[in-house]
Structure formats: structure tokens, C-alpha cells
């Protein structure tokens, strides 16, 4: 199933200091085409403790958001202001139309659900009938010698009874939908761009996100084809995967350092040992400063040098 081509730039919602994506199409597109995975962060509104499987929205690291903006794939939207301005600009007619649309969608969803329930019920009834028929056939077989005609008649029986029941059930479903007490399902769209415009107004777009000094290393590894994810679980800055994290184990525990930052050797040994313990390499790197006076400037991803550390086993 090929969905509509994604319109670029994709708006990234900036809310309370974090970067979010609300559109599932954008999420799959960025993962497939740009190696950006982010972290799913949505829980069920009623059961926020259920956090084993999370859903939309997708939360992006500032580095990921910055990278996408620099590639021209995305832009940052001040979501609170965009929503406020968008809702104010919405005419009363449009609003009513949108509400009607939502209601229609809810009714459609309800119809699908009830018809599925109907089908399941029919399935169950048919099974019961088939079982009854089989039992009857067995009984008949015990009474007299079983013949082929009897067996086929037995198997035909449920099929014959099936048709009227289905016809009956479909009529009941229809009547249910048009019934005055019939409820429509509440629809909560993940995105707000059917009523609001997809491309944000220039007044609500924000400059590229501020990023930590490890950004050049992040961009360097990303350009090398690695998928990067936050590294808290392994006590490092990023985890670098050689492919999609769903298919590969990560290769590196990544830690960034400034070119002239004083590194305690113990950190190198600890990282190397930890990495080897979990079958990964410990990777330390940073952007090279050729001159000492450009220490304050963030280096280019092309000038990044990295070193991998592993336990020598001796």
C-alpha cells in the first residue's frame, strides 16, 4: 500500500522544549529514507502507566531535528502558537464542516466494528451448528450403516442455513446504524492539518534547534549510514546501529569529546570494558580543531575523528 508522497518540509512540532512528530506517514518516511528513528513516547490517555508499547507522537532528539532541518527535509513549528493562530483563523463554517466530517468518520468506524462483530458471531454460530450436525451424523451412522449421500447432506446443512442468517444480520446492522440511539465512535486524529494548513506560516516557524557540542560527531556517524539512538541504556551518549535498530544490534557506544577536552583515561578503559562486555565497541570522537583559537566554534562533521576502543583480552 503506497501512501501519498510526503510533502516537504515536514513540520516538526516544538512543544515545551521537545521536538515531536505526530504524523505516522512522516515517521515512517523519515525512518525509511533518512535513518531517523526517534523515540515513540505516546501512552494511552486513560492508562498512562502502560508504557511497554508506546505510540505516537515520536519524540526527536534535538540533534535529529537539527539534522533534518539542515537537510531541508523538515522545519520546526512553534506548535502552541500555530494551533492558537490556526484555530482563530478557522471560520465557523469550516469548523462545522470539520466536525461533521469527524462524525462521519466515527460512524464509519462504528459500522466497521459492528459488522466485524456480526461476522464473528455468525462464525461462532456456524461452528456450533456444524458440531451439532456432526454429532447428529454420527448418531445416524451408529444407527444405520453410513452412506456417502448422508455425509454430504450433513455437510451441506450448515451452508444452507447460513445464508438466511447472514441476510438477517446485515439488515440488523443497517438498522443499528440508522437507529437514533446508535452512537458514533469518538475520533481523535493524530494530526491537526485537515482543518489547519499543513505548511506552517512563517511567523510560527522557529530557527534550527540548539544542539549539544556532540552534534558534529552525530552528523558524521549519521552520514556514514549509522542509525543513532539515545545511549542512556548503555551509559553513553548515542548508540550507533549499522542498520535499522529493529534488524541489527548496535555496534558502538558513542561518546563525544571536545578536541582539547581533558579525558580521564579511566573513562576510556571503563567504556572499552563495558563495550566489550556487551559485544560492542566504545567509540570516542569529536571534531578536529586545526587551530587553537576556533575552540568555541562547532566543528564540521567532515573534520570529525573517531577512535574505537576494545579490550585487548590480555
Amino acid at each position: 500500500m503506497e501512501s501519498d508522497p510526503i510533502l516537504l518540509p515536514i513540520p516538526i512540532s516544538y512543544i515545551a522544549g521537545s521536538y515531536f512528530l505526530f504524523s505516522i506517514d512522516a515517521v515512517t518516511y523519515l525512518r525509511r529514507e533518512h535513518h531517523i528513528c526517534g523515540v515513540l513516547s505516546g501512552t494511552l490517555p486513560q492508562i498512562p502507566q502502560q508504557n511497554v508499547f508506546l505510540g505516537l507522537p515520536l519524540k526527536l532528539m534535538p540533534e535529529e531535528a537539527r539534522l533534518l532541518v539542515e537537510k531541508g527535509v523538515a522545519c520546526i513549528v512553534d506548535e502552541v502558537n500555530a494551533q492558537r493562530a490556526g484555530m482563530r483563523a478557522l471560520a465557523a463554517d469550516d469548523r462545522r464542516k470539520y466536525l461533521r466530517e469527524l462524525e462521519a468518520q466515527g460512524a464509519h468506524a462504528m459500522r466497521l466494528q459492528t459488522s466485524r462483530k456480526e461476522l464473528q458471531r455468525e462464525e461462532a454460530l456456524r461452528k456450533v451448528q456444524a458440531k451439532k450436525a456432526a454429532a447428529a451424523a454420527k448418531k445416524a451412522g451408529a444407527d444405520a450403516a453410513p452412506d456417502a449421500a448422508g455425509a454430504t447432506a450433513g455437510s451441506d446443512e450448515p451452508a444452507a442455513t447460513e445464508n438466511p442468517s447472514r441476510r438477517a444480520s446485515t439488515t440488523t446492522t443497517n438498522s443499528e446504524i440508522h437507529a437514533p440511539y446508535g452512537t458514533t465512535m469518538g475520533i481523535t486524529p493524530a494530526t491537526s492539518h485537515p482543518p489547519l494548513p499543513y505548511s506552517p506560516a512563517t511567523s510560527t516557524t522557529l530557527p534550527p534547534p540548539a544542539v549539544p557540542p556532540s552534534y558534529p560527531l552525530f552528523a558524521h556517524l549519521h552520514a556514514d549510514g549509522y542509525y543513532l539512538s539515545p545511549g542512556l541504556r548503555f551509559g553513553c551518549q548515542y548508540l550507533a546501529y549499522p542498520g535499522d535498530p529493529l534488524r541489527f544490534h548496535s555496534h558502538f557506544l558513542v561518546v563525544a569529546a571536545d578536541w582539547d577536552e581533558e579525558l580521564d583515561l579511566m573513562a576510556l578503559v571503563a567504556g572499552g570494558r563495558l563495550g566489550t562486555g556487551v559485544k560492542k565497541g566504545f567509540l570516542i570522537g569529536g571534531a578536529e580543531h586545526t587551530r587553537a583559537d576556533d575552540a568555541g566554534i562547532m566543528g564540521e562533521p567532515e573534520s570529525v575523528r573517531t577512535f574505537s576502543v576494545e579490550w585487548a583480552g590480555m
Partner: protein, 209 residues
């Protein structure tokens, strides 16, 4: 009551003191040279030689790597010293290289042992990426080895392997430069443990150990 005499120094302590203490003036020339290899280098060298049975050990002095920085015109007070030697068995095999060997039925024991560089450090020292990069730029890539071991039926395959390794080195398919980081424990009780870590230039995928 017995009079206590200090214990006689260990072989290692004797070695290190003999190297680092000032020598009489007639050997001043030799002394100034050995002053540049402080006790640390000799401690690691001693450990490599006697604990890990390395052979043909050498000490190398690196040119000051910090010469590129404009403000740091003064000579580095701690010039970097490297040790090189040949380990008794192969220390590191890149995972892809391992696969290559496996496919051709070669074993690591069939290969010539390679000279490896060791960077002696001590716990508590601080390093920077700039210094580390300087070290990596300062020593040569492992020299190529010629087939001089008669291993019978495997000679052709070994030759093929060495030829491919040349290519792999150029493309860094099997990793770039690598060295062994040796760290001596002198704090925390100072039991003189030496730990070794393989450090490689660039992102080199980990071994499947």
C-alpha cells in the same frame, strides 16, 4: 629484638631505578637519552617482555604532535614514547578478516606475527583527542610481511591472503591503524597491574567475542 633491614628491591624496581636515576658524568650522553624514556615506559616494556612474552621490543620517540597548535609553542614536557614489539600470538583480528580466513580454511596460527605498537599510559593521566590523534598520525602503518614460513599446502592461500590484505589496508576495509593502550595502575593501591586496550583509528566494527 631483631634489627629490621629493608627488603631487597624487586627486579623491576632495580631496573627502573637503574634507568631513571642520574648516572655518573662520564655517561652523561647516555643518561640524557634515557631520561626521555621514563620509568613508565620501562615498566610497561618489562610487563610485555616477561608477563606477555613479547619479543623484539623497541622504544620509539614520537615527534611532538602538538606542533600544529599555534599557541602551544613550548616543547611538550611529556614527549610521547611508544613501544613496539611482536606478541607471541595474534592479538587482534578484524571480524571481516576473520571471515575471510575462515572461508579459505586458514587459521590465525598460519599467519606471520605482526609488530604492534603500544602506548604506555598511567592511571590518572589525562588525554585529549588532539594528543590521541597526534599519536596515531605519528607512527607508521604496520609494514608489510613477506611469506617466509613454509606451511605446505596453504602457501597459495596465504599468498592470496597477504595480497588481499594489502588492498584491505589501503581501503581500510579491515580497519585502519591500531595500537595497544597500556595503562598502569599506580593509584588505588598501586599494584602495578597493566591493562591493555586495542584502540583503532575510525569507526571499526567490534569483534564477535
Amino acid at each position: 629484638m631483631t634489627t629490621t633491614t629493608p627488603p631487597t628491591p624487586s627486579a623491576l624496581t632495580t631496573l627502573i631505578t637503574s634507568i631513571t636515576t642520574p648516572t655518573p658524568p662520564e655517561t652523561q650522553q647516555k643518561s640524557s637519552q634515557s631520561q626521555q624514556h621514563p620509568a613508565l615506559t620501562h615498566q610497561v616494556l618489562h610487563n610485555l617482555q616477561h608477563q606477555h612474552l613479547w619479543t623484539s621490543l623497541q622504544i620509539h620517540q614520537l615527534q611532538a604532535p602538538s606542533s600544529t597548535s599555534s599557541n602551544d609553542t613550548t616543547a611538550d614536557p611529556n614527549p610521547i614514547t611508544l613501544i613496539s614489539g611482536i606478541p607471541p600470538h595474534r592479538l587482534y583480528t578484524h571480524p571481516d578478516e576473520q571471515l575471510y580466513l575462515l572461508e579459505r580454511g586458514l587459521r590465525e596460527e598460519d599467519l606471520e606475527l605482526e609488530r604492534m605498537f603500544v602506548l604506555p599510559t598511567v592511571q590518572g593521566q589525562t588525554w585529549s583527542l588532539r594528543r590521541l590523534a597526534g599519536v596515531f598520525d605519528g607512527f607508521p602503518l604496520q609494514e608489510e610481511f613477506f611469506l617466509n614460513k613454509h606451511s605446505g599446502s596453504k602457501t597459495d592461500k596465504l599468498r592470496e591472503y597477504y595480497r588481499y590484505r594489502e588492498k584491505a589496508r589501503a581501503t581500510r576495509e579491515w580497519g585502519g591503524k591500531r595500537l595497544l593502550l597500556a595503562m598502569v595502575d599506580r593509584q588505588m593501591g598501586g599494584d602495578s597491574t597493566v591493562v591493555y586496550y586495542v584502540v583503532q583509528d575510525g569507526a571499526v566494527k567490534p569483534r564477535q567475542n
